[in-house]
């Protein structure tokens, strides 16, 4: 596929020379998963600025940003950790740090990058400037079993919280002294935690459980209280539908006191009261939800779906707790990302090789951009959010 690109040199000129310097607050990266590239985009004029190749296997890739919003850290499936310079439109540095990895996070102070790995299972922590290894935390249970690590999130206090899929544990690693992580381990938290989320205030860490009903909740303001199970009765005795794709909890929606969570194996979005952690409602939706993402103002929740219902997006109005809009952006809608204040949303349609931008008030299609098998869309405004 050929694209017309603004040459990297032009971007360099914008940065260094004649033209006005460029800032990065309206920039973002889009993962082109099959080609091992990221696409640099800007959300003001809704255009492509550059493609950056050479990032390896980007199936299931995710990205976090440096606090100055200049660098994106791309976590690839093949264990690659790539630091991309948005201003220069190129790779700054890159390491392959494991055989198989699933995501990462940046510390509160912006100095550390943590990567969660499947093979070998554990978390590795790198210096955000140089990508040199600072700490290695193998995920080995008390009985000696090694586990895949999922649901890695940053927490205040330069901590990282993550879950062990195979052994059912939540670990909190305190990297106040980066080379000497202090790890607090919570065991027996539930079967097969598959992903997790951190509330935007950095207080609650919630792990979704695949192997049983309910979620595991850790209150980081009261870590001594341990992990407790919530929504354990949800769906009891009901037959789940086949799950063709695990939901994602990162990017979940919080609107007022209500949390919106994808139900596993059901065509429902769960609404939970975050003060009591009791179920408030179940909203019937088009398919099995994957991402359930709140508009930054919390008024709308956008939902995409698992195969084979993945050509559809639905919008929930949080005041009515009901679906108010349905859109068909294309085949295989994998991800969506709101602009920093949420007037628009960018959507990736993998099998149609394009991005679609919608206005979130009128649902009007604002732009379409080509992209090669796009998956995750990540804007730099993530740099200043806790728990992503």
């Amino acid at each position: 596929m050929r694209h017309i690109e603004i040459p990297a040199l032009l971007i360099a000129l914008l940065v260094t020379g004649c033209a006005a310097p460029r800032a990065t607050g309206d920039l973002g990266l889009v993962v082109e998963r099959a080609a091992g590239r990221v696409l640099l985009v800007e959300t003001t004029g809704r255009s492509r600025l550059a493609t950056i190749p050479g990032l390896g296997d980007l199936s299931h890739a995710s990205i976090v940003y440096s606090r100055d919003e200049r660098y994106g850290y791309v976590f690839g499936r093949d264990g690659g950790l790539t630091k991309v310079d948005l201003l220069r439109g190129r790779i700054d540095r890159r390491v392959v740090q494991s055989g198989n990895s699933i995501g990462g996070a940046i510390s509160q102070d912006g100095r550390l990058i943590a990567v969660s790995n499947y093979t070998p299972g554990g978390v590795k922590v790198f210096d955000a400037g140089t990508l040199t290894l600072v700490a290695d935390i193998p995920a080995i249970s008390a009985s000696g079993e090694r586990s895949k690590v999922v649901g890695l999130a940053d927490a205040p206090g330069n901590r990282f919280v993550f879950s062990l899929f195979d052994t059912g544990e939540i670990w909190v690693a305190d990297l106040s002294v980066p080379s000497e992580p202090k790890v607090t381990k919570y065991t027996d938290i539930g079967k097969q935690p598959y992903d997790a989320l951190m509330t935007a205030d950095g207080r609650y860490y919630l792990a979704g459980l695949f192997g049983e009903d309910g979620l595991a909740l850790l209150d980081l303001w009261h870590p001594e209280a341990g992990v407790r199970r919530i929504l354990a009765d949800y769906g009891r005795g009901e037959q789940k539908l086949p799950v063709y794709k695990m939901p994602h909890l990162e990017g979940w929606a919080m609107a007022g006191r209500y949390a919106f969570i994808p139900a596993v194996g059901r065509h429902e979005v769960l609404v939970v009261d975050s003060e009591t952690w009791q179920e408030v409602s179940r909203i019937p939706v088009h398919g099995q939800p994957i991402f359930v993402m709140g508009r930054p103002d919390g008024r709308q929740v956008w939902v995409n779906f698992a195969f084979p219902d993945n050509d559809t997006l639905q919008v929930i109005d949080v005041t009515r707790l009901a679906v108010v809009q349905e859109l068909k952006p294309g085949k295989a809608v994998l991800h969506m990302e709101f602009t920093p204040r949420g007037e628009a949303i960018w959507v990736s349609a993998r099998d149609d090789d394009r991005l679609v931008v919608y206005a979130t008030d009128s649902f009007e299609e604002l732009a379409t951009l080509t992209a090669d098998k796009p998956s995750g869309i990540f804007f730099t405004s993530r740099a200043h959010r806790i728990g992503l």
Binding site: H60, I102, Y244, F307
Partner: protein, 112 residues
Amino acid sequence: MMGTHRIGSAVLLAMALAPMPIAAEVDAARQAELLHLLRHDCGSCHGMTLAGGLGPPLLPEALAGKPPEMLTATVLYGRPQHAMPPWRGILNEAEAKWLVHRIVEGVSDAPH
């Protein structure tokens, strides 16, 4: 690695009674769809290159010695207590058998 495969005896019986159609029944257009499904949808757990993810690797060396009939049954009926879902309803037996054959011999078009 995950535990042993558990396939209900009813499933095995059904398979024994209903002989699998031959792979030639999957036409070229559908074969292309199946390879796309393999890379992108199976790949959401097993990795786009099938090197493994939350699910185990599906590379030829990882599957060596496993009977194709068992693998085909795993595709169609899933693995209870594990994350592997049943794909029957999306794949018919001929398609599952064709896919397993391709996976076991190695899918040449997987990106590396």
